[in-house]
């Protein structure tokens, strides 16, 4: 059996640190103790991955099905590698070429997967809220691998894990997220984990791509700043995260041109000079190098973008482990 706990780690204050959730749909209702448990477990998983054979058999006999209604390379592959590293059986399904194309409803699909024997279903869907519908209608555990423009909890958790490894305690740290915040599930889920960790969050982008009320509705409005001014946003930042800017936003008239976006909001070395020395550079991928992020920054000394991907496997192992073992606890 895998030794997950570091015996020297301090006990989490407050409630017992058992995982009780059937599903992981977003980060918005995760308690401090739950976040701590995920981070601690992910640290143990990272150690597993660092061993010569980075695999264990903890989840032997568990079945994880990835159900992707949207294209994805890293999230799907990351979950597959994570599940296999824990010894689980993995089945990958995509919407194209499946019963979905024959008109099967989401509810029927997840019930079918449950009947086949899925313990956990990792789901990506283009419609916001779809995993909530799935979760209410199956006994299988649902992990949200990204829903529309709503949430991407495992990305936020791997981001948090990466930040903590480099910066330690995030309390009072300035984290700046730049780009199409309004349509970003990554930004939304990060907002919850960052505020819960005590960070000050600055959301920056063109006015048409910024949320108008989200900061206030977090209940932590004082620690969440929304601005169109890139220089203010990046000034003194400990961490700068660039988001993918889609050409489609120009086509819809939300921004005048990608050229102007680059001129105003690209994370480049000149702008990064305004941040704290050694500020972390992050990106959830896939990058449009030369658009939202300059290549010299993306591959610079302070970039942890590849490490985010590597940590993604450890964090997803932690989530799969907690959810699978929690189901039979």
């Amino acid at each position: 059996m895998l030794e997950l706990r570091n015996p020297d780690a301090p006990a989490v204050p407050g409630e017992a640190t058992a995982w009780k959730r059937k599903d992981l749909l977003d980060t918005d209702t995760l308690s401090e103790a739950e976040l701590h448990l995920i981070m601690e477990t992910a640290e143990a998983m990272r150690e597993v991955r660092a061993r010569p054979v980075g695999k264990v058999a903890t989840l032997r006999g568990f079945t994880v099905i990835t159900l992707f209604y949207e294209q994805s390379t890293r999230t799907r592959a990351s979950f597959e590698v994570a599940a296999k590293a824990l010894g689980a059986d993995v089945v990958n399904l995509t919407a194209s070429g499946s019963s979905v194309e024959k008109g099967e409803t989401l509810i029927d699909t997840v019930r079918t997967l449950e009947a086949i024997g899925a313990d956990l279903v990792v789901m990506r869907h283009p419609k916001s809220g779809a995993p909530y519908l799935a979760a209410r209608n199956t006994a299988a555990g649902i992990i949200n691998g990204g829903d529309g423009t709503h949430a991407h909890p495992t990305q936020a958790l791997l981001d948090l894990f990466t930040m903590r490894r480099h910066v330690g305690d995030l309390a009072g740290k300035k984290v700046t997220i730049v780009g199409d915040i309004l349509h970003s599930r990554v930004a939304r889920s990060n907002l919850w984990t960052l505020l819960a960790s005590g960070a000050d969050v600055t959301l920056c982008g063109p006015a048409t791509l910024l949320p108008k009320t989200l900061a206030a509705s977090t209940g932590e409005g004082a620690r969440c700043t929304v601005t169109t001014r890139m220089e203010d946003a990046i000034e003194g930042a400990d961490i700068v995260m660039a988001l993918r800017m889609q050409k489609e936003r120009q086509d819809r008239g939300l921004i005048p041109s990608l050229r102007q976006y680059i001129a105003s909001y690209q994370v480049n070395s000149r702008r990064l000079a305004l941040a704290k020395p050694g500020a972390l550079v992050m990106h959830p991928g896939p990058m449009n190098e030369g658009i939202e992020i300059a290549p010299e920054v993306a591959h610079g000394l302070d970039s942890v973008i590849e490490e985010q991907v590597a940590n993604g496997v450890a964090v997803r192992m932690a989530i799969l482990y907690l959810m699978a073992t929690g189901r039979h606890a």
């Binding site: 977003d26 419609k127 809220g129 349509h183 509705s217």
Partner: protein, 436 residues
């Protein structure tokens, strides 16, 4: 069957005649003959003490779904639902397939109504052929066939010039247009109100400006033509201000509000829990708005700026709502809860009783060209609704007469219920006694 009845000891409210008092009402051979104190009993006597007796309600905005969408509702099921909801006259929106845009479809619809309807159904015809917004429907045929109004409800008339012509032509034939005011370029793809909750849930919203800009355009067209115009389901405080201003300036504008927008806000989409519900039963077009909007609409009813509470009853089949939020159909099945939401708002001290009854009776009676004395208890009136304002009940959609079980109010306890309905001179509905 024309009944002879004495409804004894209720509080009779008839805004059309300015009556509000504890009185008896006598019906002879199906028609009201007398309202007064201590009337001598003739025929059956029903003790309605503690109840409110009003004219049968008029709904300016009902979706019956037939023909074309019988899995959602039929004339038989939805008019029974209307009856149980206290509505004796309902105006059927033309969102059907085929849509009543010419004499032949209208004739077939009227035959179905004649055969199946449990209350008075007056059809609303299309403004444009097939509700497609391209060319005008056969307006003269629709007028001759008895349409009380025209609407492309759900599809606003996008072309301002076409709309101007339609308003003018329809008014000359005695039919106002009931317009769903929405600027489609602004609301396109939006599945709820744009604001706090839509941002939180990552859903594309419909901004307030989509409604207000369309109301402003249509008021301008009303002014340009001098013709009558009815604004369907106002949902925003600012939109209501525009209507109030137009009325102050003497324009021939009327408007309605739905009980859903009086009772609920955008928060219903999120639901009551810590985690979002994405409640598709709270998905409605135009969308549920903010608490400030809701309060303004309640005030608008109290002040008489809003002429009618109209249900926009929109029954759907289970599968239309049991799906992803963006894919779910718009609409709430509410004709059986409409009165109870209104009386609950009265109980909470928000709506005023007299204003609310006016908005269900004499208010809507003045909006479309109805037969005379509809919505009143004048001598000869044949429709009466009896309300038990103290009756507490919990909404159970499985008990609806409507085929549409799509309500966000399931499990809500509401105060007030329809106790009995006299339709066309007959006691057509009586609430089951308590405990039955």
């Amino acid at each position: 069957m024309n009944e002879t009845l004495l409804l004894r000891g209720g509080r009779i409210i008839d805004p059309a005649q300015g009556i509000d008092g504890t009185l008896d009402i006598q019906v002879v051979d199906g028609a009201v003959t007398k309202i007064g104190a201590g009337l001598e009993a003739m025929g059956r006597t029903i003790d309605v003490s503690g109840c409110i007796v009003t004219p049968g309600f008029i709904d300016l905005h009902t979706h019956l779904r037939e023909p074309g969408f019988e899995q959602k509702g039929t004339i038989a099921t939805e008019t029974l639902a209307a009856l149980r909801g206290g509505f004796t006259t309902i105006c059927a929106m033309p969102n059907t397939n085929p849509a009543p845009d010419a004499a032949d479809v209208l004739r077939s619809l009227r035959e179905r109504i004649e055969r199946d309807a449990r209350v008075r159904v007056l059809p609303i015809g299309c403004v444009t052929r097939g509700r497609a917004g391209k060319e005008l429907a056969e307006l003269a045929e629709l007028a001759a066939g008895g349409c009380v109004a025209l609407s492309d409800d759900g599809n606003p008339v996008p072309n301002a010039r076409l709309m101007r012509n339609a308003i003018e032509l329809a008014a000359a034939m005695g039919m106002p247009i009931s317009e769903h005011c929405d600027e489609p370029e602004l609301s396109h793809g939006g599945s709820m109100n744009e604001g706090r909750v839509s941002e939180r849930l990552g859903l594309l919203g419909q901004p307030e400006a989509a409604e207000t800009s369309a109301i402003a355009r249509n008021i301008a067209l009303c002014e340009a033509t001098g013709a009558r115009l009815h604004i369907a389901h106002v949902t925003t405080a600012r939109g209501l201000e525009l209507v109030a201003d137009a009325k102050r300036r003497g324009l021939a504008i009327t408007c309605e509000v739905t009980p859903s927008h009086l009772f609920l806000t955008e928060e219903a989409v999120f639901g009551p829990g810590a985690e979002p519900a994405y409640d598709t039963n709270a998905k409605i077009n135009p969308p549920l708005r903010t608490e400030a909007d809701r309060r303004a609409l309640v005030s608008g009813v109290n002040a008489g700026i809003i002429d009618a509470i109209a249900t926009d009853h929109a029954p759907h089949a289970v599968e239309d709502k049991l799906c992803e939020f963006d894919d779910a159909a718009f609409g709430i099945s509410c004709i059986e809860t409409a009165l109870a939401t209104v009386t609950t708002l009265i109980e909470r001290g928000e709506l005023e009783l007299g204003a609310a009854i006016r908005a269900l009776t004499s208010g809507p009676a003045g909006v479309f060209p109805f037969p005379p004395d509809l919505g009143s208890l004048k001598t000869g009136a044949r429709d009466i609704t009896v309300i038990d304002p103290a009756h507490l009940w919990t909404v159970d959609p499985r008990r609806f007469a409507s085929k549409g079980r799509n309500t966000p109010l399931g499990g809500f306890t509401l105060s007030g219920a329809v106790r009995a309905v006299v339709f066309d001179g007959t006691v057509a509905y009586e609430m089951e006694p308590a405990g039955a």
